[in-house]
Symmetry: C2
Subunit: 356 residues, 2 copies
């Protein structure tokens, strides 16, 4: 078991050694550790290797100049200058919050960025300003549209954070596929199979192999099959892709650059880098802030009191599982599976820093 | 088979007879017929009876004064004055478009409204202004959160319309359940069963009975079960509910008033009427308009060229099925099943107007 501080310092040092500024290394470490603490190990320490290898391959800019390229009172387009995704993302969300403070809402589309960790982190940045936060991102293509075997979209998550009064905030953060890609990576590392309904092989047949993406397979959209609404998951994923890429001028769909160095850069581009979309809405742009938050308390209390189905213990509010994980992991520490520890040891060795 | 004009005039006359203004009756008829033409009969003529019975029960205001109750440069809250939903909805979307023209984006939360037909209609209003349109609404509670048997949410649809250049626009319009409630009504009228995975009985057991909602059953969220991501469908539906109701001051979740007169009004209120949420974003608030639209063309062409799975004919773009329906129905006319025709004949008789 590791402590938060130990892994935070290690992660920060890795990115400092790669050449990031102290500020940038700190936000990057903060996002990695937030993923671990919130129980999303799939977006935590396991991913450091991917960023490290992208850096070694010269595919990521550790000295970026993030900048606004276009704006209106409530919108902006940001160029992330090929930064580590967390750097462009935090900068962009801060801008959305600034715009919302003046215009009621702020909406920022960001191009020329990279994988930014958990979307929920940025949505939650809005909470302390009494704002609702929204964050979308596209990602490298692994997901097939309904009726297709082509890998056209990422797992394209949606995160929405809404403040409450006495209750903890409502925080939804989910891939628009039945599972996030990272969950396949975790299953692979653990040597486990996955349930049917998540992936198909290269001919479109159902598969339970978490490594199937390496042999031409693809992930399915939320809903699973057409009868059960996979076309709605496809719509959602497409909306996230368009908001992230067409709005910003990033690469869309199948042209999003791989976030892993073992896949070559694509020859064709339809824009710059990976795209994100951020939104911030002042709650008092709609209702007096305290009234809004008390109504959210009532919403949360009402839904928490839903009657559980037979055999189920309780009904959850979006954000509950992550908060429960955070409480548990704060007590118990962060566990890292052996295969990931080996990766981190190797990186530490190469960078000449300590890890054990 | 009926012509567009015949049913449009009939619908308009029904609402004129109920006391609506000419303007209001025309937008109401326009939305009903748009549903029929786009192949969503579940939101078309079958629903006239519901509005008629709400009116007979004195539960809907045919002489509304729709008004703004709060605003910022990019936001507003609208009170629909218990109007027929289409009236408050068109008014609110027009306001969102006006705000977007000035601030880049416009966001309107509307309370004290009623069922408004197809969400896509309002999202599509933005297209001719070179804007992306968004429309959400809550609805009377029929859907259970993951792990629950309580009917806490409506089928809470999401509609997003994005303009393209030479291609028809991208138009996604979908319930956050595997199917829309209206599809159950259509199956019931036709005397058919439905597939498993859409509804559960009052104890939480799977059911194929489209009438199960009348005996305490509930609909499931997109994803179907927890393993396959029903919690993500629950998140989506919850987000739609909160944006529509907490932002606007409407009733949320289980307190949304029934859109059918055979269910009594609830004793408890958490706001006023049904809630909607509308968004408009100028595409040139992000990219030069023509560049944006040409990029959308490229997006559409790319996705249309995805490789179909074995046994599938082609991959669709959101909006394709509705456009294909519209072409077919324009040629062939609108078909109305006997049970619905009987309802319309009865209404015509009671209002003293013609229908055959």
């Amino acid at each position: 078991m590791y402590t938060y501080d130990y892994l935070y310092d290690f992660t920060k040092t890795v990115f400092l050694k790669m050449g990031c500024s102290r500020d940038d290394a700190e936000v990057i470490a903060d996002v990695f550790l937030a993923a671990e603490m919130r129980g999303h190990a799939s977006h935590g320490m396991i991913r450091i290797k991917e960023y490290y290898e992208l850096w070694k391959a010269g595919r990521i800019n550790v000295k970026p100049k993030v900048r606004v390229v276009h704006e209106t009172p409530s919108t902006a387009v940001v160029d992330g200058d090929n930064s580590v995704g967390m750097v462009a993302a935090r900068w962009s969300m801060e801008l959305a919050i600034e715009k919302a403070a003046k215009a009621g809402t702020g909406w920022v589309a960001t191009r020329n960025s990279n994988h930014f960790g958990i979307a929920g982190y940025y949505a939650m940045m809005a909470l302390k300003y009494n704002m609702t936060g929204i964050c979308l991102t596209n990602a490298n293509p692994l997901v097939a549209p309904t009726f297709s075997i082509s890998r056209m979209m990422g797992t394209n998550p949606i995160a929405v954070a809404i403040p409450a009064y006495k209750n903890p905030p409502f925080v939804a953060d989910f891939a628009t596929t039945p599972i996030a890609r990272g969950k396949l990576a975790v299953a692979e590392k653990k040597g486990e199979k996955v349930a049917l309904g998540f992936v198909q092989d290269k001919s479109g047949k159902p598969s339970n192999d978490p490594t199937i993406l390496k042999s031409g397979g693809s992930m399915l959209t939320l809903g699973g099959d057409r009868l059960h609404g996979s076309h709605k998951g496809y719509c959602l994923s497409a909306i996230v892709d368009i908001f992230s890429a067409v709005f910003s001028g990033a690469n869309f769909g199948p042209f999003v650059p791989p976030s892993v160095a073992y896949l070559p850069l694509l020859e064709k581009k339809t824009g710059e880098g990976t795209g994100h979309f951020f939104g911030a809405m002042r709650i008092d742009a709609f209702q007096p802030a305290d009234e809004f938050k008390k109504k959210m308390d009532e919403w949360i209390d009402t839904f928490r009191a839903s009657k559980p189905a037979e055999g189920e213990e309780k009904v959850l509010i979006p954000g509950d599982p992550e908060r429960e994980a955070e409480e548990r992991i704060s007590r118990e520490g962060i566990s890292i599976v052996p295969a990931i520890k080996d990766d981190l040891l190797k990186i530490a060795g190469e960078l000449g820093i300590e890890f054990d």
